[in-house]
Every structure is written in structure tokens, then in C-alpha cells.
Symmetry: C2
Subunit: 195 residues, 2 copies
């Protein structure tokens, strides 16, 4: 598969970075063609501006948006690796969605209503949280995140959501537990190769 990895964490010492390195390495070893967009490294501008709206009215997009859209067009699957900050995406990734997943590219509105345009593509989301799994489960937060992110963004645009995997309590777990989490990342990557 042609796999686009969109990565959003500022710290090369972070567990998110380890997840990214692990999945890229494993997917490549499995023979997939992997391209990485590291939003911090490329300095992606996440602020949707009036100029974006003006371009949209002319059926155009900004050059930096077009570049990212071309990567999505190229891909069979998009993998997002990011921390959950405030029960949502980091701003740089939220703005990637705001700007790149625009009307006419990711979805359209016609006589039948809103319709996703990215059908046939898959998405895999690997997220880390500071909060613990029990709290997220008991409060229904996993369900709310699934509705707002998986459903509200990806299914909305026509993607098939392969999995949204959460690695919880990341700042508080032991080195051994983190190692087990990275083994889970490897297993997820290998399962993709089989499907």
C-alpha cells in the first residue's frame, strides 16, 4: 500500500516520536511505500485565513495546502500519530484538517446533502493520552472522541477508519509498559500488511 503518515509532536524525545519511528520502520519492512509528513518539521501553518476562503471561492487552494492534498491523493491509507491535547487534536493537526480537508477536496454538498470525497482510502489513528483508560471508558470520553474525530472528520470525508488506537497514561507508565505499547504498534503495522 501507499501509506501517508501525518505526524504531529514537537519533541523528538517523545513517545509519539517512538511510535512514529516504529510504525514507519515496520511498514517499510512489510514492503509498503511510506511517506512521512512531520507537521512540526515542515512548519505547517494551521491557521485557516480569509485568503483561504477567497481562494476557495475561485475553486483554488493555497500552495502549501495543495502539496498536502497531493500526498493524500497519492495514498491508499493515511496514518495519524499524535497526542490527545485537551480531548482533541494538537492545534497544528487541527489546522491541517481545517485547511487541507476543504470543501471540494474532502467533501462536497449537493442535492443529496453532504458527501465525502475521499472514499476508497483508509485511515489509522494512533493517539497518546495522559489520562488513564478506565476514566476515558467510564466517562464515555472514548465515545465522544470517536464521534468528534473518527466520525466527525474521517468517516464524514469518506475514509474507512481501520482503527483508532489509544495509548493511555503515557507519562506515568514504566519503560516496560511503553515497550509493550510499541510491540502493539508493530502488531498493528503487520496486521495492515496482511489485510
Amino acid at each position: 500500500m501507499k501509506i501517508l503518515l501525518v505526524y504531529s509532536h514537537p519533541n523528538p524525545g517523545s513517545f509519539n516520536h517512538a511510535i512514529k519511528e516504529t510504525i514507519v520502520s515496520e511498514l517499510t519492512a512489510c514492503g509498503h511505500d511510506v511517506k512521512v509528513r512531520d507537521l512540526y518539521a515542515i512548519g505547517f501553518d494551521p491557521v485557516l485565513k480569509s485568503t483561504d476562503f477567497l481562494l476557495a471561492q475561485q475553486g483554488k487552494v493555497a500552495d502549501d495546502v495543495k502539496l498536502e492534498q497531493d500526498f493524500i491523493v497519492w495514498s491508499d491509507m493515511v496514518v495519524f500519530v499524535h497526542p490527545v491535547w485537551w480531548f482533541s487534536l494538537p492545534a497544528i493537526l487541527k489546522g491541517y484538517i481545517d485547511r487541507v480537508f476543504n470543501y471540494g477536496f474532502a467533501y462536497t454538498i449537493d442535492e443529496k446533502g453532504v458527501r465525502g470525497l475521499l472514499n476508497g482510502k483508509k485511515v489509522l489513528i494512533l493517539s497518546t493520552t495522559g489520562g488513564d483508560e478506565k476514566t476515558y471508558t467510564d466517562t464515555g470520553m472514548f465515545k465522544s472522541l470517536s464521534q468528534t474525530i473518527d466520525g466527525g472528520i474521517f468517516t464524514f470525508c469518506g475514509f474507512e477508519v481501520t482503527e483508532h488506537k489509544f495509548f493511555t497514561s503515557v507519562p506515568y507508565v514504566s519503560g516496560d509498559e511503553r515497550k509493550k505499547m510499541l510491540e502493539q504498534v508493530t502488531a498493528i503495522a503487520r496486521a495492515l500488511a496482511v489485510n
Copy 2:
């Protein structure tokens, strides 16, 4: 009351702009002391960076973050006016939360667990959506937004959430309906004066 208004829309011709103008005018007429932070106008940088983490380790924050924190400290109530983009906040506002509501200012973690530090302050959120009210209600999306935004951000930090009012189907309603929505904004502002 001392009221801080945090406004996040790029277009001065938007309905969000009309909401902002209406509430500022009414709150001022009611005798409140109102300060406005227009995140687009001030060019707020929403990207939480490695430098922010490094400063945090020294118990410091960036100058632009400190400026916004001082406005919050000054206020009795914060009013947010913003569109819902992708069932979340626009990136510029998401990044305001990521950077300004940081550990040690908005919340802390001690032996009792996570604890908000902005107790005694109120928050009012005025949001616009493209989607219609029935869909948001029937799908449980209002509930998910309440959990991720009202609970996950504001209650988490100790704010009392006065109201999260959604103005729905904004791009599709008539001028008369928009006028009625602005009358609701006025009524909300007047009710604050009485409380």
C-alpha cells in the same frame, strides 16, 4: 463584571463577527468592563512548541502566553465566540487552549489528582455551526461537544460553565432568522447583567 471576550473568526463579514459586536455592545451598555482578544487580529501563534515545554520546566511561559494569561487572571468571566469547525475549535483557538491553559496556570496535578486552578471564574461559549440542530441532537453530537469542550477544557480547569449556546445552520438560515439569533445574543448578555 470584568469580562474577557476571546474571538476567533478570520472574516469581518461573518456571523461570528456580528455575534461579537452584539455581545460587546450589550455587555458594555450593561456596565461591564469588557476587553476583547481577537486571535486573528493579534496573529496569535497557536502552535505549542518545544520551547514552550522547555520554559515550562523552568516554571516560565512565553511572553505572548503570559499576556493572554494576564487577561484571564484579570477577568471574572471569559466569553468565547467561535465557529465549530470539524466538531471542534478552529486551530487558532485550539492552540490558544494548548498554550495559554498550561500546567501550573490552568490546572495542576498533586496527590489528590488533577485540579483546576481557575475556580471562581465563569465561562460563556457562543458557537456557530453549519450543521442543523436536529442532526446534532439526534446523533448525540451536542453531548460529545459538551464533554470534550465544556467538560474537557473548562470544567477541568475550574471554570463554571454558564452556558454553551449553539447557533445552528448559520450558512442556510434567512436574514430574519439571523436577526432573531442576534436578539438571543442580546438576551444572554442582559441575563448576565442580572445574575
